[in-house]
Structures are given as C-alpha cells and as structure tokens.
C-alpha cells in the first residue's frame, strides 16, 4: 500500500527525516518496500516562457534562447533540445539550483555563448523517465513561479502490510500507529460527525445477513459530476489511483484515508432506487466497471436494485450503475461484508480491487458510518447537491468490544526479559487499549487482531523493541535421532562418491511422464499404478512425482553432453515416491557414469572408457554392509532396456540394479561412450561402524601360488570363487582374480573356453609354512576344483 507523507502529516507529526520514519515503521513490522520521491523540491527552478530561439553561432545542435522568467531582464539560455517552440512555458533551472545527481547549475559559456541557466527535461528534474526533450508546462503556468508549486513535492512509501493488520490499510491507520510508536499526538478522525444520524431505510434490504451484517446508503441529490480539483487529483494520483471524477475520487480518497471502502451508485440507474443485498442467482451475469462480464454463483454476494445486480459486494461496482458526467443523484454505499465471502468471490472471479483487499482482511465496524459521513461532506463541498438528512441502514454493526487478560508474569516468561508493569501499561495505552479494573485490557474496535494474551505480548515486544532484549543460547542437548544417523550416512556416501570423481546432482521431485520415455529401462519406467500424479500441475513436464532418480540424472547427462562434456560422473541421493494406500517415500541413491575410466592427462592421453565394472567398483567402494550382486537374465523384469543387468542386494534383499544403457538409448542421447547406471534403495543400507573385534595381524609370512583355470565361457567367476571357498582348505587365506581372457580365434584357447588366472594366498597363524606344505595344499585344492567344476589348468 502506498502512503503519502504529506497526507500523513495532516494527522501526525512525522520523524524529522524519511529514513527515520522508514526505520521506525520497519522495526515495528511495517516493511517499507520502496521510497518514491514525487514532484519537484528544488529551489531556483521556475516557470519560464521562451521569447525567442536562434541558432547557436558555433554549434549546429544548439540554440540560443531568450526566456522570460519573472526577473527584470529575460535570461539567455543555451539549449540542445528541439521539442519546444517560441511561446512555450518550460522549467528553467537558474544559477544556484542543484538538480538530482548533484548537478549544480551555474552561469557558464557553452561553445562561446553565455548561458544563464538550463531548461530542463522531466528526467533532469527527477519527474520520471519521460522522453529526453524539455518538459513543456501548461500555458497557464505563471511565469516565475517556483516549479514546486506546479509539482508539489511529496514522498511516497510503498508499505507491505501484514494480513493481521487491516487497521493499517489507510493513512489515518498508519498515522495512528506512528503516533503510538512515537508517543506523539494524533489528530482527530477526519469524519465530521462521530455518530451521524441514521434511520432504518425502507428501500435498503439485506437478504443474506450472514454475508453482510450491515449496510448503509446515503443519497445525495443534484450533484454536479466533473473533474476533481487539483488537490484531490494530486492526492489520489500520488498513491497510484487514477482520477475518474469528483464523486468516485472522493470515495477512493476516503477509503485511502480511513480504510473503509465506499461505492457511489448513479441512483437513477437503480430500479426504484432500491438496494437489495442478496446472493447472486446461479449463472447471473454481471458487467463490472472494468468492462468485463462475470458469471456469478449463489456463493457471490451482490448489491442489486429491484431487478438486477448493480455491484459485486465489496469487490467492484457495475458498468450500468456507475457515476458518469450525466449523473445527478447518487447513492453512497458504506457497508460491512463478510471477509471470507469477499475473498472467495474475488479469487474465483480473478477480480481483486482495493476494496476487496480491505474487506478480505477486515474492516473496523466503528468506521463505517464515519466514512460515509466524511464522503458526504466532501462530495457536497466539491460537487454540490443536497444530502438526505439521514443515512439509511440495514442490519446492525457488530459489537467487537472485548477484553483480553494479560499477566505480566507471562510477558517475561515469553520474552525472556523483565519489563516493568508501568512500561507495559504505557505501551498498551499508546496503542489505544484501555486497562480494566480486573487487570485485563479493553481492545479498540479497529484492532481486530488482538484477541489473546499472546497477541498483547506481541504488541509489547514490538514496541519494547527486540533489539533491547539480550540474546542467550540455552537448552540441554537433544539425543541424536534416526534422522541424524541417516544424515550422517548419506553425507558419508556423498563424500565417498565425490572421492571417486562423482558430482552430486539435485534434480526435481516433479518430473514429466515423457521426460525419458523410450530411454529408461523398464525398472525405471514405473507402471502407472506406482506413480503419484498431481491434481493441479503447473506445467505438464512437472506433473508426477518421481518413482526413480534415473530420469533426472539422464536429463542432467543430456544437458552436460550438449555442453560438450565427455567424461560425466553424476549421482544423486534423494527421495522417490510410490503410490499406495499410503504414499511411500524412500531415499534412493543413483549414479551415472560415462567417458574416461581415469582422468586423462599427459601421462595417459587416451584412457580406456569406463564400463560396467568401473561402476561395479564404485558401488563396492561405497562400503555398504552386506551389499552383493546377482546376475540377472537380460529379459528379467526390471532389467529390460539394460545391457548386462546386475541385481544389487543388501542383506539378501533386492535393493537395486546396475547395468549399461542399451546402445540405442546411448545413441539417442548422442553419447559417444557407454553409459553405466545404477540405483539403490538406501532404506536398508548401513555403513560399518568400528569392528567389535579386529582380526589379529598375521605374524608369519604368506606364500602365494598362481593358478590358471581353463573353463567354459558359461562358468562364472563367482562360481569358481565359491568352489574355492567351499574346498575349505585350512591354509588358504585369500583368492584374487588377476587375469581373464578368451580368444574367439581359437588360437590361444579353444573357442567357447576362457582362462581365469587367480593368485591364491596360503598362510598359517602358527608357523612359517614350508614349500612342501604349500605344494600339498595347492595340489589338494586343484584336485577339488577339477572334480567339482570340471575345469582344467594351464601350466
């Protein structure tokens, strides 16, 4: 809401500087979003008339003018503008003037010709951006008059009023707050009569009392509708309201002054001059003042005459009954409408106004008739006419008077500082509250927000100033929670992945069903029944909650590929969402890897491309407890679309999958290298803590023996390893694959066979082994493998 400081000064003495006022309001909870200077407040800038204009002798683009500016002699001014003609009135900055930007005007020579000042553009005077040419003034502007008389200086504050403070939505309300905060006097309300004469109007009826507790109408006959006088136009335009005519401008002025929205009808346009406050009929059509036609429902409240709606109550008047230059008789409405009803209608119609804004937040019942009276007085003053002696009313003004108890012990218990009782009393009294014999406080009608002790404590904190409350850090530490453990584990996994060259991505939970269609393996292309859709997505590409992190990572991969990145390692730890009777949220880890297996450098100019086993190593390097891999058949459910799918288990339970994107998908991404991906549900993941008992460090040396096994292609490494372990050879302490090859040409190995070379470690905890002992153990093991796996050995 915009407020004019000139206007505020009519009600209260302001702090000496705007900055002090801004600070006062800000620290009292009224945020100042912008300070706008209006008008001209520069001495030595006057109205002048151009008497003659001749070409500058030494400069093509300049002219030399003689101007009349109320001084004994015309002034000679050198000017570069072209948009004026002789006889025009212009703004002249005389020597001594200081224009915005600390631009000092002096007598000086311009290309050899003396200039006794400067003719100004609107921009140079700080009157807005305008065009670059001179500001041309109205022909009746008095020569020599200070420009500030044409453009009165004012400062406008754009305030953010919190929804709990509707009483601040007017100049008088802000003035009242300033007076309370500063402890200075407040001028009396601008209304003429504290309680104007009222009468129950025969022609005013409320048919929906729940939506309109009170309605008042003042009829004024024989007004002359015309343009508003300058002071009125300036005043409302200064706070951003367009001037319409003297009647409408008065209703807006009073709303901005006292906070009560008013509406003026052309009474002749009201059938039978009647006012019916009623719910709209279903489908009732209404043409509002904004020229648009709205279709109403019984949920909307309208002001109607005997036949049709003339206004949407509290929101906007109608085109048909609006005040025009032809209007003679008017009816001024001042009413109370139900705030929820106004809000619903305003929102449903997408139609908001200064009026609906105020009704939505709440109106001071005590101000309804005062505002009507104030408007009536101004209208008669500016437009003539005769007001009916009484204000016609229907319904009754609610009694909002209430008492709120306050214990000073609670004040210190909540604020953490002892505030003496006299101080509390003085604060609340300034805000218009009145102390009662029972230690409670009587709340003024305009403070709709003060209903509980906590609300009064807030007022005290606000006025006392939180800067005067010393801060302290207090409280015993809380024991760590499951969320703490999860956070720590996730951070550790993140750091381990970063240590392996991965960058953490964060992608949206909301994704598009189309985002990666045709690219995702079926595990990551969840069935519709698993997916949670939004009822009201904002855009179609964020219409469902992700059931997997992979689409987001693929999108990130795509983006980086387009930016010419070639080695890309990304991971994300984030929530996924699954539909069900109760929606389920789980934390997943997913990663994507393509490009070089190690960093390329001058020592290794062409590293090999990362593959499935690099990614498998990454997963193993995380150190998640009881994590294992199970090969999946290529057509396994959940693995279609993956090349070489590998299931990931944690403690034997399915936890995810690892694989390569199928080449078609990789080509679709225009990615030059294979793409490995994995996703793991971290619900069951644990990182090992310190071991409860470490293994003793071996005291005797180990002996290694290599073994090269020739096996059919179909025999998996895991089976060989299992068979070795199953042999239970007591001296065997380790087995490590160190080479693996096959030869499709059949030269080195028969086709269909492969060679796997293992290094076996033998060791005893009691003694140094002899060669004979090791040889015997090794021979035993080979016999067992030969028997159990039907393999042969390369010697």
């Amino acid at each position: 809401m915009k407020v004019s400081l000139t206007w505020l000064r009519e009600f209260v003495e302001l702090p000496p500087t705007t900055q002090e006022l801004v600070n006062l309001l800000t620290l009292a909870g009224v945020e100042v979003e912008e300070v706008i200077q209006r008008g001209v407040d520069i001495p030595h800038v006057v109205v002048a008339q151009v008497l003659e204009s001749t070409q500058h002798p030494n400069a093509d683009r300049l002219s030399v003018c003689k101007v009349e500016c109320g001084q004994p002699q015309p002034a000679q001014i050198v000017c570069g503008a072209k948009n004026y003609k002789v006889g025009d009135k212009v703004a002249l900055a005389l020597p001594g003037a200081v224009l915005p930007g600390d631009f000092k005007i002096k007598v000086g020579k311009l290309r050899g010709v003396e200039s006794e000042g400067m003719m100004c553009s609107a921009k140079e005077l700080g009157l807005g951006e305008g065009h670059e040419g001179l500001l041309i003034l109205p022909p009746d502007a008095p020569i020599g008059a200070p420009l500030s008389s044409l453009f009165p200086a004012d400062t406008i504050l754009d305030l953010e009023i919190t929804p709990n403070r509707p009483d601040l939505l007017s100049h008088y309300g802000i003035a009242r707050e300033i007076a309370a905060l500063r402890g200075v006097a407040l001028a009396p309300s601008p209304a003429r009569h504290a309680s104007p004469t009222v009468a129950t109007g025969a022609r005013v009826t409320i048919h929906a009392a729940g939506l309109c507790p009170f309605y008042s109408a003042r009829r004024i006959r024989g007004v002359t509708v015309g343009p508003s006088p300058d002071w009125l136009r300036n005043r409302i335009e200064s706070i951003g309201i367009r001037s319409i005519n003297n009647i409408v401008d008065v209703t807006n002025l009073v709303m901005m002054e006292m906070g009560q929205p008013l509406h003026a009808f052309d009474e002749a346009r009201l059938d039978e001059g009647e006012i019916h406050v009623r719910q709209a009929q279903a489908g009732e059509s209404f043409q509002a003042l904004d020229g648009k036609t709205y279709t109403l429902t019984p949920d909307d409240l309208v002001i109607a005459d005997a036949r049709a709606a003339s206004a949407i109550a509290g929101v906007m008047g109608g085109e048909h009954s609006g005040v025009t230059s032809a209007t003679r008789d008017i009816l001024v409405e001042s009413a109370l409408f139900n705030s929820q009803s106004v809000r619903r209608t305003s929102r449903r119609l997408g139609l908001a106004s200064d009026s609906s804004y105020r009704f939505e937040r709440g109106i001071d019942p005590a101000g309804v008739l005062a505002a009507s009276d104030r408007a009536t007085g101004l209208i008669i003053e500016l437009a003539g006419g005769i007001a009916e002696p009484e204000i016609e009313t229907a319904g009754s003004l609610p009694d909002t008077s209430r008492k709120v108890p306050l214990r000073s012990s609670r004040v210190s218990a909540i604020l953490g500082v002892e505030i003496p009782e006299p101080r509390i009393d003085s604060i609340l009294t300034r805000f218009g509250l009145a102390t009662q014999p029972d230690k409670s406080w009587l709340i003024p009608s305009f403070r709709l927000d003060l209903t509980r002790e906590a609300d009064l404590i807030e007022e005290i904190a606000r006025a006392y100033g939180i800067e005067n409350i010393p801060g302290s850090v207090r409280g015993s530490p809380a024991p760590s929670s499951p969320a703490d453990s999860m956070h720590d584990m996730h951070m550790e996994i993140r750091r381990r992945l970063a240590g392996q060259g991965f960058f953490e991505a964060r992608t949206f939970s909301l994704i598009s069903p189309l985002q990666t269609r045709g690219i995702l393996p079926d595990r990551y292309d969840p069935k519709d029944e698993m997916v949670i859709h939004l009822r009201n997505p904002l855009v179609s590409d964020q219409s469902q909650l992700r059931a997997t992190l992979i689409p987001g990572l693929l999108a990130a991969l795509d983006r980086n590929l387009r930016a010419d990145a070639r080695s890309i390692r990304l991971f994300e730890i984030g929530r996924i969402y699954l539909a069900g009777r109760e929606p389920e949220e789980r934390v997943h880890l997913a990663a994507i890897l393509t490009g070089d297996a190690i960093a390329a450098s001058w020592v290794n100019t062409a590293p090999r491309h990362a593959d499935l086993f690099d990614m498998k190593g990454v997963i193993q390097g995380l150190g998640i407890e009881s994590l294992d891999f199970v090969p999946l058949p290529p057509d396994a459910t959940g693995a279609k679309g993956l090349l070489s799918p590998v299931g990931i288990t944690i403690a034997g339970q399915d936890a995810g999958v690892l694989g390569l994107l199928r080449p078609a998908a990789v080509r679709a991404l225009d990615c030059p290298t294979p793409v490995a991906i994995f996703e793991i549900d971290l619900s069951a993941a644990r990182l090992p803590g310190a071991p409860s008992r470490i293994a003793p460090i071996a005291r005797f040396p180990a002996v290694t023996r290599d073994i090269a096994i020739i096996a059919p292609q179909s025999l998996a490494h895991a089976e060989i390893e299992r068979a070795v372990r199953a042999a239970n050879e007591p001296l065997l302490t380790g087995i490590q694959l160190f080479d693996q090859f096959s030869d499709p040409t059949g030269n080195r190995l028969p086709a269909g066979q492969k060679s796997l070379a293992y290094s076996l470690t033998y060791r005893s905890a009691e003694r140094t082994l002899t060669a004979d002992e090791v040889n015997a153990a090794h021979a035993r093991l080979k016999e067992r493998l030969k028997a159990s796996l039907s393999v042969s050995f390369r010697e």
Binding site: L27, I414, R462, S481
Partner: protein
C-alpha cells in the same frame, strides 16, 4: 715396510680419485686388494717379519686395508649417485601432476551440512517428515485459517486424494511434537513446494530448514541468541542480525530476520529467515491430536524458525540464477570442489 705401506695407500687413494667408472674402481680394487694385489702381497710378507715388528706392522696393514676398502665403497657410491642424478637430469618438474578424479558435493548439500553442524554444536538433533503431507499437518495444525490463500490450488500442489506437497518444512515441527513429548530441540531440513513459475529467482521446489525448541521457560531471548549465534557462525563474526516484527499464523510474536554481513556482499539488510514464539494455538492443535496436554501452553513455551537455503547460497556465492541449482551443469558443480 712402513714406507711401502704408506706409498701403497697414497697410490690407491689417488687412483680411486681418478677412477671415472665402475670398471676403473674394480681395477683398483683388484690391483691392491685382490688375491694377487699389492696389499694382499704385503700381508703374505708378514710371515717373514720379526716378532717385535709383527703387531705394529699388522695393525698398520689392517688400517691401510680398511681405508682403501672404505675409499672404494665411497667412490662406488659417489659414482652410483652421479649416475642416478644423470638419469633424471633435466626433468621438467613444472609438468602438471597426474590428475586424480575428484567430484564435489552439491552446493545445497554443502550449505545444509554446515548449517546442521552449527546447530548440532548447540545441541540440536535432526528431524524428518514426508514431502507428501495432509492439510492438517501443513495448515490446520499451524493455525492457518481454512480460507488462507496459501491453501489455494493456485499456490499449492495437490494430489488427487486431497493430500498435498508441503509448502514449508514447518510440518516437521508438527510431526515431531505429535510424536514426542517436550523437551524438543530439533532442526528439520527438507524440500518444500510452491506452485510458482520457475524463473531466475523462483523454483517450484526448494530447500528449507526448520528449527524448533520447546521446553519449560523457553523465551524470545533464547530465540534471538540462537539465531544470532547461527548466522555469525555461518557468515562470520561481523554478521549483523536484525529482527523485524512480522506476521505468521503459527508464531506470535513473529519476526523476519534480516542479515547484513560482509560475506553477503555488503551493507544491505537481506531478508533471510522467519521466526517467532510458537503460537499457543499450535500447541492446542498438537495436544488435541496427541490426546494429552503435553504441550500445555501454560507450562511450556517454544520458538521456531525457518529459512530457505537456495537464496542464502545464491547470495553467498553470487549465483545469478536460482536454476543453476537444479540444472546440474558440471561447469557450475565443479566450482564447489
């Protein structure tokens, strides 16, 4: 004999000095210490010495032999040393080190973890809650009126069954109090959602962090001290913190927190967080849901705060566009290594 030995020694040492290779040194060794070498020959000659000369000459002989042996070893070592150095002579040590792959955590994670660490120093535990919430946890329990604009379909994402995506992490406060008796001293980071068009300063999903402290005798002074401590730890001891009265449905009194800090680039107050004393109406809602009076507003009091991490991270690192945080461009992420 003495004289001969002295001469031999001098000759051997001089020849070693001149030996410019392994072979030359070996030749000196053979010449003097070999089986047929001159010093070895003198040892043979010991037999012919008289009893009185034997110990003295023997000692001298051993001395010379040891000296020559040591000189040979030293010469060999020196030659080896010279060869080693020559092997790497001229190596350009300004060549770059062999790079190690090193990724990075996301800037949001880094900031969040710093914030968590600071609050843990003050004894806060982490708490959690789902992104998919119901109206009770997101609005009703937080004293938000039924017709509050935030509940609107325009502003909040709804699921077909009436559930919604939480618009603020304050739901974590509600969940924690519903599940646990006071004292409560928690922080709750997480995602929040608003139905906003995405642009340079808005995301429809963003990160918030929530704090809640409820116990007997918790005051606004504690809130102020805790918030000041947090921001000074995060942004440096010169950070200034200003509390500006504001309005939130779930706290009373309520404040917005403005920060001015060199780390935030200067002398402007930046609105970074909201906070306040928990509104008694929130406690009443919790009690109703719990079916007890564990959060009796006459016995316990509390405060809560919340702030958005993206905006803070944007200011700290001068990030011009909030979308950088979700685009996952490596050229951005690499800067947080």
């Amino acid at each position: 004999m003495d004289e001969t030995l002295d001469q031999l020694r001098a000759a051997a040492l001089a020849e070693l000095d001149a030996a410019d290779g392994e072979q030359a040194v070996e030749a000196v060794r053979v010449k003097y210490l070999g089986r047929a070498g001159s010093i070895s020959a003198l040892s043979e000659g010991m037999k012919s010495l008289g009893k009185e000369d034997k110990p003295r000459i023997g000692k001298l002989l051993n001395e010379v032999r040891a000296q020559v042996t040591a000189a040979i070893d030293a010469r060999k070592a020196a030659l080896q040393e010279a060869r080693d150095s020559a092997a790497v002579a001229g190596l350009d040590t300004t060549l770059p080190g062999v790079p190690v792959l090193r990724g990075a955590l996301h800037p949001m994670t880094l900031l969040l973890d710093r914030a968590v660490a600071i609050f843990r120093r003050m004894g806060f535990a982490l708490a959690d809650g789902p992104d998919i919430e119901d109206e009770w946890h997101c609005f009703d329990a937080l004293n938000t009126p039924a017709d509050h604009p935030a509940r609107n379909e325009q502003d909040t994402f709804y699921l077909p069954d009436g559930r919604l995506l939480r618009t603020q992490t304050s739901t974590i406060q509600v969940r924690t109090m519903a599940a646990q008796r006071p004292p409560v001293r928690i922080i709750g980071p997480g995602a929040a959602y608003r139905r906003d068009e995405i642009d340079a300063t808005h995301l429809s999903q963003f990160t918030q962090m929530e704090g809640l402290y409820v116990d007997e005798g918790v005051t606004l002074a504690d809130l102020k001290g805790t918030v000041e401590f947090f921001f000074r730890e995060l942004l440096g001891p010169n950070a200034e913190v200003r509390f500006r009265p504001h309005f939130f449905p779930f706290t009373e009194p309520s404040f917005e927190i403005d920060i001015k800090a060199p780390a935030l680039g200067g002398d402007r107050w930046l609105e970074l967080a909201g906070c306040g004393m928990v509104d008694p109406a929130v406690f009443e809602s919790i009690n109703q849901r719990r079916g007890d009076n564990a959060y009796d507003p006459e016995t316990v009091s509390g405060w809560a705060f919340g702030f958005g991490l993206e905006r803070l991270a944007m200011i700290i690192s001068s990030v011009p566009d909030i979308r950088y945080f979700i685009e996952n461009d490596l050229r951005f992420l690499e800067q947080f290594r």
